[in-house]
Symmetry: C2
Subunit: 128 residues, 2 copies
């Protein structure tokens, strides 16, 4: 399998786990030292325990049952990769969120070391 195909599989398994509220599946393949920039506060969640808590929180949102990636781009070379996508993550039919991910392949297995999930702010709030 190509690196891209391996990462497609990882992303598909992950999104399915999130939709199923399968907490172990949602955190599978994450680094013990993962740094998560999530949609809600805090500014960053460091480490697997804090990462797991971000999913516990999100599972309370009905949008989590529809969690899916759109317009995914995977850029991989050697043992490094990054991913960007839009996120279907609310009860709306249109994507509301954005995802960026940093991965490293360690001992032949892709590990997510960093995730960044966000919603854009309304222009008025952002200080326009």
């Amino acid at each position: 399998m190509s690196a891209e195909a391996e990462i497609v599989q990882l992303l598909q398994d992950w999104a399915a786990a999130v939709r199923a509220h399968d907490l172990d599946g949602a955190v599978r393949g994450r680094s013990a030292d993962i740094v998560m920039f999530d949609v809600p506060e805090p500014l960053q969640a460091r480490g697997l325990d804090a990462y797991r808590d971000t999913w516990r929180l999100y599972f309370r949102d009905p949008g989590s049952r529809r969690f899916a990636l759109q317009e995914t781009q995977i850029v991989a070379e050697g043992n490094l990769a990054w991913v960007r996508a839009l996120l279907l993550c609310t009860t709306d039919d249109a994507p509301a969120g954005r995802l960026t991910m940093g991965l490293r392949r360690i001992d032949g297995r892709w590990i997510v070391e960093h995730e960044h999930h966000s919603f854009p702010m309304p222009l008025a709030v952002a200080g326009d």
Copy 2:
């Protein structure tokens, strides 16, 4: 120079250009096809013209005069890299934003193909 040292230089030059409201410097080293997930709407800005507009907007914010990266992590291998950092980007003394970046080295030069800038949402707004 190592890949990491080259990217440190790119990030330092970029942040200095943003603080100086040097629009050409702020967009230097970006891909013609860059996809930007910015703090304010829209959901994504595609291409260099749309990317440039995100900086025109941000330069109206007095926080842009203090734009700086903190807790920067650079992960590079071969001709691929990703970066994460916290952003000092408001008039507050503490970082309020998060940055993730995807880069590729093309003809020996690092090119930013993707950026993701965001603020976390207050928990109440995020649906807690």
